[in-house]
Amino acid sequence: MQKAFYKTAKEIVETGFDALPSELVSSKHLIYSSPATLSFNSPGAKGYGVKRAGLAVPGSVMLLVSPGCCGRNTSLFKSSPEYKDKFFFQLLDDTDIVTGRHLMKITDAVREMLDFLEKRPSAVMICITCVDALLGTDMERICKKVTEETSIPCVACYMYALTREKRLSPMAYVRTSVYTLLEKQKRENKDMNILGFFSPISSSSEIFDLLHDSGIKNIRELARCSSFEEYKELSKANFNLVLNPEARHAALDMQKRLGIPFIEMLRLYQPDKIHNQYMLLKDAIGVDFDDSVLYENTVKCISDFREKHGKLRFAVGEILNADAIELALMLVKEGFEVKSVFATIGELNYSFLKALAKLSPDTKIYSNLSPTMLNYEPDDIDCYIGSDCLYYFNDKPGIEWCEDVEPFGYDAVCTLFNRLDAVLDPKTN
């Protein structure tokens, strides 16, 4: 029995991104299924998958057209009040798949949904899965036909797990789908949108004050739209601020269809990099703001934490509201030790890994997905961050850091350390 596979940060960087070991490349081995990989295999089981994300359009409902197995875990959130009467299922049998006859019944299914619902929905999101990917179903055409026959806007959502590692993954596609009902209208100079997440950016994030203080009047997020009318106002934005690369395609589509340009930022945890990003944002939108006090407060917050708890040894997972390697890099730069990181290495975070390798060459990099993780024996740490780490280190203090509200900016860093303090402080415990 082989022990859990890992390479140190130094070893990975020495061999280079193009020569990653097979164990760290998900397409080269079976994908181990443990609670630590649930979010990889089934993003909807926790947080947002395509089904839940598709319902981000206010007042919309979803019709899942698939074999029963694809909708099985919907029970998890179907019982919560916000998803009451939101999900409908048209189940496929073998004959449907062979003949494609299920496609002829979608209009009837939508009519039955409309009869059943007390209130007419704003839109019907029609979600299809791997089966229709392989059949080559033209769902856009079917949505158009259903819209013509029922007068209800229909939008196709693709839960194609088969294409998850494509440039346009299912989650990137659904981020585009949820904005397709927007229509071009006059843009307002002082309006903007934040794109990237299905849940709102934490209200305590400084980004709102910084933008408001520099003259932006309305900052809109899809997750904060409580009605379809509010949703429609998203197309008034003068520009979009993209905080998650998965929303880039959506921003490009909005730029093309609605004439809304976009700027990209990343969610980072290194205070100096957060500052740099804000300076770039300031220049890009031609406004002025000063984040120096926020920066100083953040540095002090970290330093107070370090003074109180010492040079803690961390494990950092990848199921969290951060990039695991960037977060690990921040912890190392701030004087902590990172014993292990559970991460999927991609082009974007490889640059963080290179920096990490210089400062902490012995940090172990594991892949949750490797079959050898069946034999993982926990590293000796003081504290963990990440929902996947909770599975490995359930006897250690730590935080999952993957709530539905999205942390961002200096506020995210301070909140992170405050939360860590709360679990580490014996008085709190």
Binding site: I31, S33, C69, C70, R72, N73, D93, D108, L162
Partner: protein
């Protein structure tokens, strides 16, 4: 509209049933999917997964694997995992993707057995059928593959076939053993629950078997033919708590909606006339009474309720709104059915 769900969520599919049978037996289990099925099977339909490790994997199929039919790549990955982890056997569980591209599962079995040198079983689940269909195939293949040797029969030893968590809602074999003990069965082997592959291999040492689900009957029949082991059909795991919730009125009309053997056993315990059973899952006429019904969809339940005017319905509460909207105004007793809602309640 048939096969259209407005109230309920889809039930546990056949691939979950197949995995459930093999989960504790020490093999390499590969769900031949792109990831989503593995997430559903493990994260939703396998309650043991959170506490008990098993070598269970997704094949991680991608679109080009499906288009090109790269079976050799799957065998390569499986062989690599076997080198790393070992295992008693390999199980390949099919899902909608291999079903659509008509993957030759028999050939996969042969390739895998040859390459790894251990038994390989492929279950042709499709994701369009329900858990008990997958379990039925899995129970049969399990015994057909591994129970080949004849052992001396141990007096009083009873094999229990079909008691997966999906069927019973129990994740701990000790509780099941207690129920069996209460029925006077003290020397029992509950296959796939707290027992290993060796017990399957020694199946012929049982004096008798009990099939506790419809999905276990075919395997029990096989063992009868192969070793002459007689079998009974029963479901000895009805929780006492559910009995205390049933109203006293003798002439009330009761409908129980559960898997067929479970519903039958509950009816027997209730012991009243005018008690009908219905199931969303496999329905066999030979185990049914006159007014029992197979529910193929939500519309069937609506019709049944309007035709039969029940006073009490005992079913998973996921069905309550459907029952109420169908005109049912009597007492609804929640009896969770894991394969319906994925809930285990304190009744169990």
């Amino acid at each position: 509209m048939k096969k259209f769900l407005k109230y309920m969520s889809p039930f546990a599919p056949d691939q979950s049933g197949a995995c459930s049978v093999f989960y504790e037996l020490g093999g390499l289990i590969v769900i031949c999917d792109a990831g989503g099925c593995a997430g559903n099977i493990c994260g939703f339909d396998e309650p043991r997964w959170f506490d008990k490790k098993s070598a269970i994997f997704s094949a991680g199929l991608r679109d080009m694997d499906a288009v090109m039919g790269r079976d050799d790549k799957l065998i390569e990955k499986l062989s690599y995992a076997y080198e790393q982890l070992g295992g008693n056997f390999a199980l390949i569980v099919s899902t909608p993707v291999p079903a659509v591209i008509a993957t030759d599962l028999k050939s996969l079995e042969r390739m895998c057995t040859k390459k790894l040198g251990i038994p390989c079983i492929a279950i042709d689940s499709t994701g369009t059928n329900l858990y008990d269909k997958g379990e039925e195939k899995a129970w049969f293949r399990l015994f057909e593959t591994f129970a080949s040797e004849t052992f001396e029969v141990e007096k009083g030893k009873t094999g229990i076939i079909g008691a997966t968590p999906l069927e019973t809602g129990f994740t701990d074999s000790k509780i099941l053993k207690k129920y069996l003990s209460d029925c006077g069965l003290h020397n029992t082997v509950i296959y796939s629950m707290g027992t290993d592959l060796d017990e399957v291999k020694k199946a012929s040492s049982c004096e008798k078997n009990i099939a506790v689900s419809v999905s276990g009957v075919k395997a029990a029949e096989y063992l009868k033919e192969r070793f002459g082991t007689p079998y009974e059909i029963a479901y000895p795991f009805i929780p006492d708590k559910i009995m205390s919730t049933v109203p006293y009125e003798k002439d009330c009309r009761i409908l129980i909606i559960q898997s067929q053997l479970r519903a039958n056993e509950l009816r027997k315990k209730i012991g009243r006339p005018n008690t009908d059973c219905a199931t969303w899952f496999t329905f066999k006429n030979e185990y049914a009474l006159e007014n029992d019904a197979a529910l193929k969809g939500e519309d069937d339940l609506t019709s049944l309720i309007s035709d039969r005017n029940y006073d009490v319905i005992i079913a998973d509460s996921d069905a309550e709104k459907l029952c109420r909207d169908a005109g049912f105004s009597g007492t609804f007793i929640d009896f969770p059915e894991f394969a319906v809602s994925g809930r285990i309640s304190d009744l169990l």
